[in-house]
């Protein structure tokens, strides 16, 4: 039976949409008249070109003419659309329509895969620019109808899988046709994302920064390939090169990733169109600076169900804000003149598109921009001027509506695609709205019919008493069932000269005639509606947009700290009763009885003032830590993935920390490049990164890089022993040396980001901070470096540094260590808290670091332990968290001590900064106050108040019947060296 049905279906399709030159065996050849004239309509030729009382003439699926005076040919069918509107059908530039997303295969118990599975393609399986959407496409009639009902006529669809996903195809949603006609462009748009292909288990890249590095290397290799430098065939690079001129559409997914994608594009002269995530409003200036066109989803969050206070407490203010602020994202982008289109992508249900679009309009999106976002903008993204407008020659893809398409009360009647009609709501349904009266068995009833089209409904009353009733209106017949007391009365009828006339059947089965007489028009309730449609209050965005964010970014001030005890971190110096003047972000003067007009005075009496703490080894404020897919990942950089919104930045400044090095983790012998930032809470990534930052890279030794504690499956990656680790280094440095020599020789060379980075090390332009534990490997790495004529800059952790402190001194390497961590794994068995003191006594520059988001906010206490363990003086101990890490980071000419001319990175402490009883009261960075213990109390109050406000708004939403979602607790991933 099923087979027959399919057969019939295929027969009917082939017969009705057969191409002109195809033979026919199902009947005689017949052609359809495909000329239509739509008259008297308000026609949106483009969002800004509107013709009132105009005519749209279409023929064979294309617009032939449009305007006020169009001559209508005789063969045209004329459709009078008096009072109705015509819009171009919507275009969705980011779709997966008709192309199923592949499912990830579960492969428990398998060892990791490091090489690519595909042969003849690029070395990384997640680069799939060769995937052609056409070969994956299968028209999905059900989905097409859903999209048609939401106003879409054309979508650009693709296979959503991999980092480079291949090209898209431009398809109309015409279910009455075949792919032969529906596919408007076989190569339309080239798609990219930050997600790996689920079709491959290849490990690399495991991180966002690895993905970014991979994209860069791929572009470089494509260029190298295009110039004929590669002997083998690489179908992936060939496809990438041949699709270069298509629109490049990058699915980023949130504002931080939008910026990251754009950064890569800028480096290679590619302007991506960016699929955003809906939170672009948080840093709208940065978003504008990308110059990108955006594709925005409208999957606005549902309110959280906050009725259970235990659960409600777990939702963070930033998540509550997201619910409140997100619907204003399109409006804010529009106001900032950032071009964008809208997509149904990410919506669980396409039906929600219209509702959410209306919501965006209520939140301030103007209707012209909205229409552009659905027509002209996606058309221009896809470089196709025949869609998204109704100019002559364009596809006859258009919508017929009862009025303003963005009005909630408007009915979408028809969605024409390629000149074929798709009825969404019948246009021929009569308007029967009005107040009526009728009599049955001597009783008088009143009836108010409201609504539009098929959705017209009735409310029936007897006097003031509401009568239970069921009303339906279909095929222009009214059907009513009344329940008056215990009596059921059934009525049928049709409109006839403002009267409803028909048959009534009472409880006893008696039939008679009934007539409902029209008495008056339904009163317009528009005014009430308007009130409801007012956007609720949208709370202010802060920088960053989380609790404790700043309403405005802190500014440099002239600050005069009076009469404090100053630990300068210069030669163990302590200055009593001293004033410090801060101006233009620098330490301007140190002395007594200083004054400066207009300065903000901080009374330092009984307070201690120091340089800000510097953490040489941090993993906060980043979206990724390890790229563990290769044993060397010198090509990746943490600078790509800095997260300026991390609350741990605020917690760090509350502990007197002003600068940190965000290090790559220890998953591989050669890790990634560092980001060195100032903790300017509220700034964006660029505002935090040091200008002309010293260049660093993380290396690592020992158990982590040989995967000792990664489980029994991780036994295939080289190296698995310390012996292998040495060879990894020698191999890479040798290759880097040869690479550099070739580069300098002027001969053509394949640009390799990884080797470029390693060559920088050999050329003493980049410094190594190496995660290290036991003495043998520490010694080894120094010897490897010496073999290549450079020095290791810093050993970080360096828990057995005390065993080779003399060798370290001789080599000239510093040590950045924990105060007292040990016993968490085998290689830290001989870790001792006296390590720092012994290294210090041997003349090694020693810093105390954290590697931990909790410890980093009280590094002053960790430094104090050096007094207990090993007997350092207070000043020596203090240097290990200020000037010493500054030296190790090559920042000691800029920060790390209180010295005239240095950056004003200054902390005011309530007491001796090493004491467990002291608190950081003010943390100043570049002359601006970023943390103030008094302001912090105000922020707490503000958070409480704002939470209460948003919770009330969500409760309101729930009581109004809005959909809600279960509360979620934001769980922040806390990174350590060995975090995957």
């Amino acid at each position: 039976m099923k087979q027959i049905l399919i057969l019939l279906l295929s027969l009917s399709i082939s017969s009705s949409f057969a191409q002109e030159y195809f033979p026919t065996n199902t009947g005689v050849k017949s052609s359809k008249n495909k000329v239509y004239a739509f008259t008297n309509a308000t026609i949106y030729v483009t969002p800004k070109q509107v013709v009132k009382k105009g005519t749209l003439l279409i023929k064979d699926g294309k617009v032939v003419a449009v305007g006020k005076s169009v001559s209508i040919p005789k063969e045209a069918q004329i459709i009078n659309l008096d009072g109705k509107s015509i819009y171009p059908s919507f275009v969705d530039a980011y779709s997966t329509f008709g192309i199923e997303k592949p499912k990830k295969e579960n492969s428990p118990g398998q060892k990791p895969q490091y090489d690519a599975s595909r042969k003849g393609y690029y070395w990384n399986d997640h680069i799939r620019p060769d995937v052609d959407a056409f070969s994956e496409f299968k028209f999905d009639t059900k989905k097409a109808k859903e999209l048609l009902a939401s106003g879409f006529g054309v979508v650009n669809t693709h296979l959503e899988d991999g980092i480079m996903q291949g090209n898209g195809i431009l398809v109309t949603l015409n279910p009455n046709s075949s792919d032969a006609y529906r596919i408007l462009a076989k190569k339309s748009g080239n798609y990219l994302s930050f997600s790996k292909s689920v079709k491959s288990r290849q490990s690399y890249p495991t991180s966002r920064m690895g993905t970014m590095a991979l994209l860069r290397q791929t572009y470089l290799d494509a260029d190298w390939y295009a110039n004929g430098n590669v002997k083998n065939t690489d179908l992936a690079l060939e496809a990438l090169n041949s699709n270069k001129n298509l629109s490049q559409i990058f699915n980023a997914g949130n504002y931080l990733d939008d910026l990251r994608a754009d950064k890569i594009g800028d480096e290679f002269g590619i302007q991506y169109t960016i699929v955003g995530g809906g939170n672009e409003y948080e840093r709208v200036n940065d978003i504008k600076a990308t110059n990108a066109t955006y594709i925005l989803p409208v999957n606005f969050k549902k309110a959280y169900d906050v009725s259970n206070p235990f659960l409600a407490n777990k939702i963070s203010l930033s998540d509550m804000r997201a619910w409140n602020q997100e619907p204003s994202n399109p409006a804010i982008l529009a106001k900032n003149k950032i071009p964008f289109s809208l997509t149904t992508y990410k919506l669980k249900n396409v039906k929600d598109f219209t509702t959410n679009l209306q919501k965006a309009i209520i939140y301030g999106l103007d209707k012209t921009t909205a229409l552009e976002a659905l027509t002209s903008v996606p058309a221009s993204i896809l470089k196709n001027d025949k869609i998204g407008n109704l100019k002559t020659g364009s596809y006859a893809n258009f919508l017929i509506t009862s009025g303003d398409i963005f009005d909630e009360k408007t009915t979408l009647y028809e969605n024409w695609v390629q000149g074929d009609k798709n009825t969404i709501n019948s246009m021929n349904i009569k308007d029967i709205t009005g107040n009526y009266t009728f009599n049955i068995n001597g009783l008088t009833y009143t009836m108010a019919i409201t609504g539009e089209g098929a959705k017209q409904t009735a409310e029936i009353k007897k006097g003031e008493e509401k009568i239970k009733s069921k009303f339906s209106f279909a095929d222009n017949w009214v059907n009513i069932t009344l329940k008056d007391g215990d009596n059921f009365i059934r009525l049928t009828g049709q409109l006839n000269n403002k009267q409803l006339i028909g048959t009534v059947i009472d409880n006893n089965g008696n039939e008679s005639q009934w007539t409902a007489t029209y008495t008056s028009k339904i009163e317009d309730k528009k005014k009430d509606k308007k009130k409801e449609n007012k956007a609720p209050e949208v709370v202010a965005v802060s920088f960053p947009n989380v609790g404790y964010g700043n309403a405005t970014k802190p500014q440099k001030e002239i600050i005069l700290i009076k009469n404090a005890t100053v630990w300068t971190s210069e030669n163990n110096e302590v200055l009593n009763n001293t004033d410090i003047l801060i101006k233009d972000g620098k330490i301007a003067q140190i002395g007594t009885n200083l004054s400066s007009r207009g300065a903000k005075i901080i009374d330092g009496t009984e307070k201690y003032v120091t340089a800000g703490i510097i953490d040489e080894h941090s993993h906060i404020a980043t979206s990724a830590v390890n790229e563990s897919g290769h044993n060397s990942s010198a090509e990746v950089t943490i600078e790509d993935v800095v997260n300026p919104d991390d609350i741990n930045i605020y917690r760090n400044i509350a502990g007197g920390v002003t600068s940190i090095q965000i290090l790559h983790g220890s998953a591989n012998p050669i890790g990634g490049r560092s980001a060195i930032i100032k903790l300017k809470w509220g700034e964006n990534t660029d505002g935090m990164l040091y200008n002309n930052s010293p260049k660093f890279i993380k290396f690592a030794l020992g158990e982590n890089v040989k995967q000792s504690n990664w489980g029994d499956l991780n036994t295939v990656r080289f190296p698995q022993t310390r012996m292998g680790v040495e060879q990894v280094y020698i191999d890479y440095f040798q290759r880097a040396k040869e690479y550099d020599a070739q580069k300098k020789s002027g001969q053509p060379y394949r640009k390799d980001i990884e080797l470029e980075t390693l060559a920088e090390i050999i050329n003493k332009e980049r410094f190594i901070s190496c995660h290290s534990y036991v003495q043998s490997e520490i010694n080894m790495l120094m010897k490897v470096a010496e073999q290549f004529n450079f020095n290791i800059n810093t050993f970080t952790h360096i828990l057995e540094g005390y065993k080779v402190a003399d060798k370290m001194k001789k080599h000239g390497v510093g040590g950045s260590t924990f105060s007292d961590w040990w016993a968490y794994k085998y290689e830290v068995n001989d870790a001792i808290p006296y390590n720092a003191a012994i290294m210090h006594n041997q003349g090694v520059t020693v810093a105390i670091n954290s590697d931990d988001a909790e410890m980093s906010r009280r590094l002053n206490q960790e430094a104090a332990k050096l007094i207990k363990y090993g007997g350092l003086s207070e000043q020596e101990a203090w240097a290990t968290v200020t000037i010493n890490p500054a030296k190790l980071l090559h920042l000691n000419d800029r920060t790390g001590s209180i010295k005239v001319g240095k950056d004003a990175d200054v902390v005011v402490w309530s007491g001796n900064p090493l004491s467990v009883y002291s608190k950081a009261e003010k943390t100043i960075i570049d002359g601006a106050i970023y943390f103030d213990i008094e302001k912090d109390l105000e922020k707490r109050k503000a958070i409480k108040a704002e939470r209460a406000k948003l919770i009330n708004m969500m409760l309101q939403e729930k009581i109004k019947g809005g959909k809600t979602q279960a509360p979620k607790k934001k769980t922040q991933k806390l990174f350590h060296c060995d975090t995957e």
């Binding site: 235990f310 659960l311 777990k314 963070s316 989380v546 609790g547 404790y548 609350i647 741990n648 917690r651 509350a654 158990e703 000792s708 504690n709 005390y802 065993k803 402190a805 003399d806 007292d820 961590w821 040990w822 016993a823 968490y824 794994k825 085998y826 068995n829 001989d830 001792i832 006296y834 003191a837 012994i838 006594n841 041997q842 909790e854 410890m855 009280r858 206490q861 104090a864 332990k865 007094i867 207990k868 090993g870 207070e874 001796n912 090493l914 004491s915 467990v916 009883y917 002291s918 912090d936 707490r940 958070i943 939470r947 979602q965 279960a966 509360p967 979620k968 607790k969 934001k970 922040q972």
Partner: protein, 432 residues
């Protein structure tokens, strides 16, 4: 196989070699008088220029050095220094694991969920290298508790200078540790479930299982007890009040349920461990005499909106609410971090509690909560002479520098594997 075997032997030999423990001090034969120090008694009192005398392992005198009284035995001049009762760490797993990442050394979590019969004391490694690093910081006693399961097992209180676990025991099988069922759970996102935090569907089921377990135990204990059931037997102590029930739980709802249901189950002495949000149910805790063993202060705030110093203020908040508060260890790197116990107290002191009250957390309060305050916890006549002398404030990293420590009157070594390496390598460089 063969190679692995050899490897194990080698490993064993190697580990065997490097365990060079401090020799436990012999029984006190000589009396001591510590004179001139600032004595922090552990009960909130401070005596400047104090005199403390002890012999036969017990404290014989606590008072002012101005008293004209004969000094006993060896006189230690401690002018300018500070004397404290030995610190007590509650809820630790000291001696139950040596190196976190090495499975063979981990002995804190037994298979199964209802394990009141599991006893930590017999696995306690008195010769652990981690344990000996406690003493130079003033941590001289600890409760050794198992982890995992619903009922994890039975803990004991030990002193940290011993030949073996029998020697170490101050109070064997002091209490049973229970992990209260999770009130909220999140979906397993990796299985395609909504990752949102929601009420744990199995919460009631887990509680019902607990209730059933207790009901069965009670009927077993009321009957002729044959055949013998080890888990049920092990519950006798918490039902008759001779043992405490340490319920590990956080959150307003969880704590409330834990207290009410444990009472209903017939548990006499309840202690809440962890106890975040305990201040919200302070009245219930007070009414039922339930103390709280707080976590270490050095934690991140619970959630993005929480005050950055909220974990630092926890002890002050609970103490103000009238709750008896102690300090415990549980979580990441808990064993090696136990030596930082005084500094957690110091942090609580800095954030509102004040020094002497903060000191009480790890002395008198912990002793009371563990039920050993008749022997230890304060500098009072008749109690164990377990105490130490520090150059300065022992709650501050800068000044916690011990010059002498005594456990039950025995003058113990303040050396460790770590100080030995310190000296060995310092000497190496000196002699170069």
């Amino acid at each position: 196989m063969k190679i692995k075997h050899i490897y194990n032997i080698l490993c064993f030999l190697f580990i065997g070699n490097i365990i060079a423990q401090q020799t436990p001090a012999p029984k006190q034969t000589e009396a001591y008088s510590i004179e001139g120090a600032t004595a922090h008694l552990g009960n909130g009192e401070v005596i400047e220029n104090s005199l403390i005398m002890f012999s036969d392992g017990k404290i014989k005198f606590v008072g002012s050095a101005n008293m004209r009284i004969a000094r006993m035995g060896t006189v230690i001049n401690a002018k300018g220094k500070h004397v404290y009762p030995g610190f007590i760490a509650a809820n630790t797993s000291l001696g139950l694991a040596e190196i976190d990442a090495v499975r063979a050394t981990r002995d804190f979590d037994e298979v199964g969920s209802m394990l009141p019969h599991i006893r930590s004391i017999i696995a306690y490694n008195a010769e652990s290298k981690v344990v000996e690093t406690m003493r130079p910081n003033g941590v001289l006693m600890a409760q050794i508790a198992p982890r995992g399961g619903v009922i994890s097992g039975t803990s004991s209180v030990v002193q940290l200078d011993a030949w073996n676990w029998e020697d170490a025991a101050i109070k064997t099988d002091d209490g049973i540790h229970m992990n209260w069922p999770q009130v909220f759970s999140r979906g397993r996102w990796w299985m395609g479930e909504d990752p949102g935090l929601k009420p744990n569907k199995n919460y009631q089921k887990s509680i019902d299982k607990l209730k059933e377990f207790f009901a069965n135990a009670k009927s077993y204990l009321a009957g002729n007890k044959t055949p013998k059931n080890l888990p049920y037997e092990a519950l006798q102590g918490v039902l008759n009040g001779s043992q405490r029930m340490f319920v590990h739980v956080s959150g307003e709802k969880g704590i409330t349920d834990a207290v009410n249901i444990c009472k209903e189950l017939g548990v006499k002495n309840i202690v809440i461990v962890r106890g975040q949000e305990a201040e919200k149910v302070a009245d219930l805790l007070k009414a039922n005499n339930v103390p709280v063993i707080l976590e270490r202060a050095h934690r991140l705030p619970n959630g993005e909106d929480a005050d950055y110093d909220r974990p630092f203020r926890a002890a002050k908040i609970l103490t103000d609410a009238g709750i008896l508060v102690g300090l415990g260890m549980e979580g990441d790197m808990e064993r090696m971090s136990t030596r930082n116990l005084p500094f957690y107290a110091g942090t609580y002191a800095a954030y509102g509690l004040g020094k002497e009250k903060a000191l009480q957390l790890i002395t008198q309060n912990n002793a009371k909560i563990l039920g050993v305050n008749d022997k230890i916890g304060t500098l009072e006549v008749g109690k164990d002479a377990t105490l130490f002398i520090s150059e300065g404030d022992a709650l501050d990293m800068r000044t916690n520098i011990l010059t002498a420590a005594f456990i039950q009157g025995r003058k113990i070594s303040l050396e460790s594997h770590q100080t030995k390496l310190w000296k060995r390598y310092s000497d190496k460089y000196k002699n170069q």
